[in-house]
């Protein structure tokens, strides 16, 4: 079986989309307080530019952490769920949402943290998965409801660099709570694997 081939990740930050830098110190504000109606669609468009601080190529809606958006007048309420209970990026995500929506003209921004139903890696969108591969992170190999997850069977993970299936886990835990460490036995590159949870 010939494994699917993916392009190698872009080598430098210079080639990454501008959104990657949105919300970070020194980065240009992506959204300005332009005139126009303050609608749910507008708030959602703004959220689509707010990146996961730890995987900046993936925007929060694609990570599946945005649970709802409501707009009343110039007040916007965003319901957000954390990926892991102890994820230190959660506070930063809330701050960035507030910052960007305020910049877009919302006078009051409320970010409600909701726990139920719990976040799952199944909530990551196809676009989120595509962006992960582009940045050298292998997305979850199967659904969280897959029985291989329950039995603890090690998943078959495709190398995000060369597309080989000849990969192995080097550590069940990685640089952040949501990732594990893997390596490819074909191209010999180490890579992050986004845990299936």
């Amino acid at each position: 079986m010939t494994p699917p081939r993916h392009p190698r990740p872009k080598p430098s930050g210079a080639a990454l989309p501008d959104e990657v830098f949105a919300g970070f110190a020194g980065a240009p504000m992506q959204v300005q307080a332009t005139p126009g109606p303050l609608t749910v669609a507008r708030a959602q468009a703004v959220l689509a530019t707010v990146p996961d601080p730890e995987i900046p190529s993936v925007m929060l809606p694609d990570l599946g952490v945005i649970r709802g958006v409501e707009v009343t007048g110039d007040r916007v309420t965003v319901r957000m769920t954390p990926t892991y209970t102890g994820c230190p990026a959660t506070d930063l995500m809330q701050m960035m949402i507030r910052e960007q929506l305020s910049a877009a003209g919302f006078a009051e921004v409320v970010v409600d943290l909701v726990l139920s139903p719990p976040w799952s890696s199944d909530d990551i969108t196809a676009e989120g998965r595509r962006r992960m591969v582009e940045t050298g992170i292998a997305p979850p190999a199967h659904r969280a409801t897959d029985k291989r997850h329950l039995t603890g069977t090690v998943p078959e993970v495709t190398c995000p660099h060369c597309g080989s299936m000849a990969t192995e886990m080097t550590s069940a835990f990685g640089a952040t709570a949501c990732k594990a460490l893997w390596r490819c036995n074909d191209c010999r590159e180490p890579f992050d694997y986004f845990k299936c949870i």
């Binding site: 954390p82 892991y84 209970t85 102890g86 994820c87 230190p88 726990l115 139920s116 139903p117 719990p118 976040w119 799952s120 969280a144 603890g152 080097t170 550590s171 069940a172 835990f173 990685g174 640089a175 709570a177 460490l181 845990k195 949870i197």
Partner: protein
């Protein structure tokens, strides 16, 4: 507030502190490994587990503060209570020792914690149920990791086996506390807020026995057991030293904030 409701809230507050304290104290112990792990991957693994535990502890402390209704924050509950007011399990305050000791402690705890949180997932208290539903996924991952190390060390070299056997002998006596219930535990179980802890013993023993068997180990021979931490705040000598370090910043700079 009428008397029964006040009584129920007092019990729930203490029950939440038990959950929060256990996660918090073990989190701190695992954090002590940061920068000292035997290999890089394990250093990362332990701090990752610690991160999940502090996340869970925070959610329980926040809820406890609300139930108590005196305006105490999660930081005040974590850093400004004395040793005798801590209700963590004695097992999790035990020193790290070598890696076998840390992993034996972790596995004994993870196997029980997974059963506990599966029970809490069914809680009639929606707040506890949603915290547990989230944490159960994380704990499943922890248990798989610690069980893997027990098997590797038991079925490993003569030295690794000697160490893991010694670790289980030293720690098994603290597990009696997992299943011992007091009035608060019974009150919570009767209200459907938490599981019947005594009912967790059989599935826990089955899980531990299966992993020990795979590790080619038998059940430890130590027959002593001790209680006191989770219910009464009577601790082994180790917790006081840990708290002295853990709470020093908040004690020296009251109200300190990140």
């Amino acid at each position: 507030m009428n008397a029964p409701a006040a009584d129920r809230d007092a019990a729930l507050f203490r029950y939440l502190l038990r959950l929060g304290d256990t996660s918090h104290v073990l989190c701190h112990r695992l954090g002590e490994w940061c920068g000292h792990g035997p290999i890089m991957e394990e250093d990362i693994a332990l701090t990752n587990v610690a991160l999940d535990l502090i996340g869970q502890a925070r959610l329980f402390y926040q809820y406890a503060g609300e139930v108590e209704g005196k305006g105490r924050s999660e930081d005040e509950l974590a850093f400004l209570r004395p040793e005798r007011d801590f209700n963590n399990l004695l097992l999790v305050e035990q020193p790290n020792g070598d890696y076998a000791r840390t992993m034996a402690r972790q596995f004994l705890f993870d196997a029980w914690n997974l059963l506990l949180f599966r029970g809490l997932e069914q809680s009639t208290d929606p707040r506890i149920a949603e915290i547990a539903a989230k944490a159960v996924k994380e704990i499943t991952y922890h248990r798989r990791h610690s069980a893997g190390w027990v098997i590797r060390m038991g079925d490993g070299t003569e030295e690794s086996r000697r160490r893991i056997v010694a670790a289980f002998e030293q720690l098994m006596g603290f597990t009696a506390e997992f299943f011992h219930m007091d009035d608060i535990d019974r009150q919570m179980a009767d209200a459907g807020i938490g599981p019947d802890l005594s009912a967790l013993r059989d599935p826990w023993m089955a899980d531990v026995e299966a992993v020990l068997a795979e590790a080619t180990l038998g059940w430890p021979t130590a027959t002593w057991s001790v209680l006191g931490g989770r219910h009464e705040g009577r601790h082994t000598e180790h917790l006081g030293y840990m708290l002295a370090e853990m709470q020093s910043m908040q004690r020296q700079y009251p109200g300190l904030n990140w």
